[in-house]
Amino acid sequence: MTLVLDSLTASATLLIVVIGLTMVLGVLEVINLAHAGFMAVGVYTTFALLDHGVEFFLACIIAGAVTGLVGFVVELLVVRRLYQRPIDTILATWGIALVITQVITLVASAQNKSITVPFHTTATVFGTKYAGYQLVLIAIALVFVIGLGLLVRLTEIGRTIRLVMSNEPMARGIGINTTRVRQMTFVLGTALAGLGGGLLGPIEAVSPQYATTLLIPAFLAVLVAGASVSGLVIGCVLLATVQTVFGTYADATYSTVVFVLCAVVILRFAPRGLGLQR
């Protein structure tokens, strides 16, 4: 049972990291290597707010908004100019990541910080004791996924986004301001990165290089997921479970190796990802 919960926690963590990344990749076709940087902005904002006595979850949400604002500026100055040059977006967002890391180092110093876990209590699930905050994360990941699914499927915004994804010139032709849709998506993606950054703060080491170790697995998970909500869930749960199970029964350090090898093999045979539609 602990193993199942561990797998679920790992899946939830991955999902929280990946959800903004997928959005940006799916709609903008931009591989955003600055994603970890945006998460770092989120976690440092959260940290600063906690210092001022703001309640944890409120701090995370404000951090998300602040990060979204940063994303807005980055989109306006950089990403917007590179939509037709996919390789260059990889390079440019890597450059942005460097800038963010250094700004944080200058502002907040390179020292590691830690955020106290908001729920110190343990809960009992099916007779197994488990850390409360991890369970909260699982719930949050669920909310994220269901929310995204509903957004994409049921709302006007979702329909517009899907149209822009499937046929951009056509969308422009019927009067949709595609530049604006892309801008909003990027801002939303970065805001989610900031929010996720804050939420994962209590269980990760907080430093200017925050989440960079998560970036490569997240990037692979996004590709495995493909541009769909179902793929996102399948991909993240599959990869995270494999990693956790391997880490528990075999060797923890090699579990990352197994994770990336899984991604490599899956992408060889399903180059468009595991999504059920498209």
Partner: protein, 601 residues
């Protein structure tokens, strides 16, 4: 300024730089010498990545692995590790250990990169993205494996203190300088050779290169391995001179730093990345001492600015600026002097009236959509067959399927030439090499190649391209010259193809196809976009080719033109061949009229 003067000036500047660098360690302190040594080694590393990424278009996010392997090879053979503390306990500094260690690293890099390349590039449509995934994964794996094999790699502590003592500070510097000069010159010759043209063709348009006979898999694999080996060489030098090896040297961060040097310097120029790596690593090590974090911040901003505003890199932008200021005519840099001389059409002698391609009961469908069904048709040597039919009849699909044996089809296609080569499963480049040549409906040429460079590939059918020599005078069949004259492309062969207007591109495509000395020539609407005068003239050339033995197949819409040049006409409608016969029989045929008009009157 004249090109000759310019070249002389360039050589002079290069020699002055080399002399200045050569004399440097005599005048500066040991610390500065060591910084310059490292910068030189990184220049080699950048050159190796430029071959792979800049010239061939393969993004290698794990390029640091190869560098690390070279360095590690030297480190392993020259150090002993204490099993308890995992620290270096003894150094074996005989020359033999360094040489053997270096070779070990090179061999390891060659084998591993070869396996990765074969795995990635054998993947059909193995997109540029998949190689990013695999190299990224490889750098993660390399980092972890390095830490877990501490008994030979030193794990977290790495290996240290194994610099080759007999070299000394200055000796190490000079060794690296000589290595940089040699590798730089070799790389420049390599990328300017005929093989270099194939590399750029693969980068620009891999699929199209295949139809000119270029084996993109082989080109990409070979260059990937060469890049890895050169990077390992740089690593071995680094190990020998600095005597340090640690885990970050195989990691993703270092790999992206190399990527940045190449991008900022100017990818695809060899010299640009070398200068970029040299300059930026020197700056980094100087400025890091006094303004560590600020400098990294400036570096990040600069990098983003370069990507945004100088997408081709700094060096090409500088050249462009210099050209404008010095008023050098733009053509001087682009000129690759090229003369096209007629060759004897001896290869074109073929037995008359033999079946070149026999198509039996061919069917093609995409999902539930049936494009072609039950197509039986024989293409004869020395015959011009025109395929006509309304839009959506399947004409272009038929061409595509004939030129690519990997297409999913039912029925059979057998070849009556090239020793009865099996058609099924053969990639376009194999069929092109056998003499089955396709001209695309819409001109799809290579962005950065000149017309002349494309002819180098076409006349070789992409095979046996020299890795050091550059063909300046290309021998082509006389018909090619005629087509070039008719379309008016002759005087534009030294221009980049991307700059040519549509009509000239079309002429160039036809000429390229003929330059491959085809046995079977598949032409999809060759004369679309040409004037009626040009069209008649090209029709004449195609007739002559047919008379010389080539099986010419063309898709055409203009029936008068077809009447004038075709020996036989096949009418395709709704995916079926509804009529085959001499041109005059077509207009009388009831079925054909039904196909076009809808109802027979």
């Amino acid at each position: 300024m004249r090109p000759g003067t310019l070249k002389l000036a360039g050589v002079l500047v290069a020699m002055l730089c080399a002399a200045a660098l050569g004399g440097l360690p005599v005048f500066v302190d040991a610390y500065t010498t060591s910084l310059f040594t490292t910068a030189l080694i990184f220049a080699i590393l950048a050159i190796s990545l430029d071959l792979v990424w800049g010239l061939t278009g393969v993004i290698d996010l794990g390029h640091a692995i190869w560098f690390g392997m070279g360095c590690l090879g030297v480190g392993i053979l020259t150090t002993d590790i204490d099993p308890v503390t995992k620290l270096v306990s003894a150094i074996h500094s005989q020359l033999g250990n360094y040489v053997l260690g270096g070779l070990l690293g090179l061999a390891l890099a060659a084998v591993v990169s070869g396996v990765i390349a074969a795995w990635v590039f054998s993947f059909r449509n193995g997109g540029s993205l998949y190689v990013v995934v695999v190299t990224l994964a490889a750098s993660v794996v390399a980092g972890i494996v390095y830490l877990k094999t501490g008994s030979i790699t030193g794990g977290d502590n790495g290996l240290f203190g194994f610099a080759y003592p007999a070299l000394g500070q200055r000796g190490g510097y000079w060794l690296c300088l000589v290595a940089v000069v040699l590798i730089l010159l070799t790389a420049l010759v390599f990328v300017r050779s005929d093989y270099g043209i194939a590399m750029r063709a693969v980068r620009d348009n891999e699929e199209r290169a295949g139809y000119l006979g270029v084996n993109a898999f082989a080109v990409k694999t070979l260059v990937f391995v060469i890049g890895a080996v050169v990077a390992a060489l740089a690593g071995a030098l680094y190990g020998t001179v600095t005597g340090v090896m640690s885990q970050p040297l195989v990691g993703f961060s270092f790999a992206t730093e190399v990527l940045i040097w190449v991008a900022v310097g100017g990818r695809g120029t060899i010299l640009g990345p070398a200068l970029g790596a040299f300059g930026m690593s020197l700056l980094t090590s100087y400025l890091n001492r006094s303004f560590g974090a600020q400098w990294l911040l400036i570096q990040g901003v600069l990098f983003v600015l370069v990507v945004l505003f100088l997408p081709r890199g700094v060096l090409p932008a500088l050249f462009e600026g210099a050209r404008r200021i010095l008023r050098i005519p733009a053509s001087t840099s682009a000129v690759r002097s090229l003369q096209v001389a007629p060759a004897s059409p001896a290869q074109l002698e073929r037995a008359q009236r033999l079946v070149a391609v026999d198509v039996r009961d061919l069917a093609v469908s995409f999902g539930s959509l049936q494009i072609l069904r039950g197509v039986d048709i024989a293409l004869h040597h020395a015959e011009l067959l025109a395929i006509i039919g309304p839009n959506g009849a399947g004409k272009s699909t038929l061409m595509a399927v004939l030129a690519d044996g990997r297409s999913k089809v039912e029925g059979s296609v057998s070849l009556g030439f090239a020793g009865g080569l099996r058609h099924r499963g053969r990639a376009p480049f194999r069929l092109a090499r056998a003499g089955l040549v396709r001209k695309f409906q819409i001109p799809e040429l290579f962005e950065s190649l000149t017309g002349g460079e494309a002819f180098v590939l076409a006349t070789h059918r992409g095979r046996g391209l020299s890795p050091w020599r550059r063909t300046r005078t290309i021998a082509v069949p006389e018909e090619v010259l005629r087509v070039l004259d008719i379309a008016g492309v002759s005087e534009h062969l030294n221009r980049t193809v991307a700059d040519l207007p549509h009509g000239l591109k079309q002429g160039l495509e036809i000429a390229l196809a003929i330059a491959e000395k085809p046995t079977v020539l598949l032409m999809d609407e060759p004369t679309a976009g040409l004037t009626s005068h040009e069209r008649t003239a090209i029709g004449g050339v195609l007739r002559e080719l047919a008379q010389a033995g080539v099986a010419v197949v063309l898709i055409e819409h203009d029936l008068d033109f077809v009447d004038a040049i075709a020996d036989r006409v096949a009418v395709l409608h709704g995916g079926e061949v509804v009529h085959v016969g001499e041109p005059q029989t077509v207009r009388q045929s009831e079925t054909v009229r039904t196909a076009y008009v809808g109802v027979a009157e």
